[in-house]
Symmetry: C2
Subunit: 327 residues, 2 copies
């Protein structure tokens, strides 16, 4: 992209292949996954602002073809997935990507290329929010508003992995059965159910201690009276595009706080990143974490893939296949 705007600003451009710098790894991309953050980034609305001309994207899977000086964990031929990291211009979408070594992981057996690039944003986001910030235990009820997004689905799996109780919300009653299949213990349909009353009934009056909430606007008001003591509200992703409105008095009654959340505030802390990598790899190997891929687009229809994302009909990750020949 050489300007800010809608998905149409993305263009396929031939560029010279760069060599990886010190500590960096270059890999040939098999597939990459889309994230809603990419849409905010290309429009200049993300907390990370693009430095133009910019590449885009943070999650890809592929095979290493070159390593920079000092790289110790990877060698050409290794199959790797990238972990989203804070970048203003070196996105991973393309035929080749260059990523610092610490933001790559070996791609585990039993996970295909499309799943491999669909795992890290959703699981690390939920892990850092619910476990590193929220200190989730099996006694907690956790609210997952807008649960049919990939971040929401990832959160449901992380919550189940830790033995807590997941309460999903969705506007659309049609998604209820799929959310229950995807790990939700309970589903609240916000178009027809009273959110507060439903939570109080489900939790026997205890309320939710954590809420992983991308909705913003007035939505918190619909459940603020159904919070557990010392609740933590974790706004992420900014789906509504407007401010997150906090009703102060009911929050004070529950001694609750609002912790606006991004994985980028955690992925750059080596100890947290190491714990996150371990948890997600363990979950992928055991099958407790299994990315749901909604649809796969060809590389030359990446713009179409982003337009599909904006339609909001998907459930799970949207992936673009770059090359079948890589592996």
């Amino acid at each position: 992209m050489d300007r800010i705007g809608d998905p149409e600003v993305l263009q396929l451009v031939d560029v010279d292949l760069e060599a990886p710098g010190p500590g960096e790894v270059r890999f040939q991309v098999a597939s990459f996954a889309l994230n809603r953050a990419d849409l905010l980034f290309m429009r200049g609305q993300h907390y990370t602002l693009p430095v133009l001309p910019a590449r885009i994207g943070s999650e890809a899977t592929g095979v290493v073809d070159a390593v920079g000086s000092g790289v110790s964990q990877f060698k050409p031929g290794d199959r790797v997935s990238s972990i989203p990291f804070h970048t203003t211009r070196h996105g991973v979408q393309g035929e080749y990507a260059i990523v610092p070594e610490e933001f790559l992981v070996a791609w585990p057996d039993g996970v295909d290329a499309h799943e491999g690039c669909s795992a890290w944003m959703q699981y690390l986001t939920a892990y850092f929010a619910l476990v590193e910030v929220g200190r989730m235990t099996e006694d907690d009820y956790v609210l997952v508003p807008a649960a049919s997004s990939s971040a929401g689905l990832g959160a449901l799996q992380i919550i189940k992995m830790y033995g807590a109780t997941a309460i999903a919300t969705s506007r659309n009653y049609k998604k209820k059965a799929r959310l229950l299949e995807s790990g939700a213990d309970h589903v609240i349909v916000t178009d027809s159910d009273n959110v507060r009353d439903s939570i109080m009934e489900i939790t026997g009056g205890k309320g939710v201690r954590l809420s992983f909430d991308p909705i913003g606007g007035d939505f918190l008001a619909s459940y603020v009276d159904a919070l557990d003591q010392d609740a933590i509200i974790l706004p992420y992703g900014l789906l509504s595009g407007d401010d997150f409105k906090v009703p102060v008095a009911p929050m004070v009654r529950k001694s609750a706080i609002v912790h606006p959340f991004s994985m980028f505030n955690h992925v750059n802390k080596p100890d947290q990143l190491a714990r996150g990598k371990d948890v997600v790899l363990q979950g992928l190997r055991s099958g407790k974490l299994r990315p749901h891929v909604d649809r796969i687009f060809p590389f030359d229809d990446t713009v179409g893939a982003y337009n599909y994302m904006e339609s909001n009909v998907q459930m799970g990750k949207i992936v673009v296949e770059v090359s079948k020949d890589v592996f």
Copy 2:
């Protein structure tokens, strides 16, 4: 008060003198101080809801005349001040008040009755918020919006007691000189100054790490880009009456959180209360903390005192004198 409403619901009513229960102390009231929380309480808008018929008020000074069983720290004749505690009907405004022993302190020498009842809400609120929650150090810049309220003035003194830098804001340029006299290191006049730019200039680009903010609504947006890393926003008091709007993306950039605040979430924790009592008594004795009394009303004009509070022209505490004969 036997109904919810404006200050006119407050009536002087003769009632039988109750005996203090176990652990309780009765004292004859010399004077009491008003708080904005009282206005929210009488209108049913406070996080503590009244149980009718209710008495009102949380800060009074007087002389003990009876103690309940098990009371060990006070005896008749002692001069005491009450510390605000969580009550739904036993307010301290009246000729006599009954308060649990742990929410009384001996009234130190050198502090008169009006100052004695004006100290505890303002200093404990700021102490719990800035020190117990905010872990304030002398390296911090602390924003005090609407600083000419009694809570704001108390915060300025607590900030100076801990050696941090206090940046006050006020809509009214007329209050600037008084705020500088009252301990503010810097004053931003919000009607004419750009809040963000002023903070960045004052802090040399570092930003404020703590904000003790009663304004709510859109005000946070005016300084969210001038936060220090890991900032804590402490909304209290709900002056604006509406929600506290949190711009998520700029908060995430600074890894900042919103911690809606009330002293009532801290005063019931014995270890925090003990530390708070020590700090405030030490400050009162050393003169670093000195309540500013704006105006004193007679007991039979308590309604007038609350109406004066709503005029917003005061700077400091509004006190009602009940009896000169008590001491």
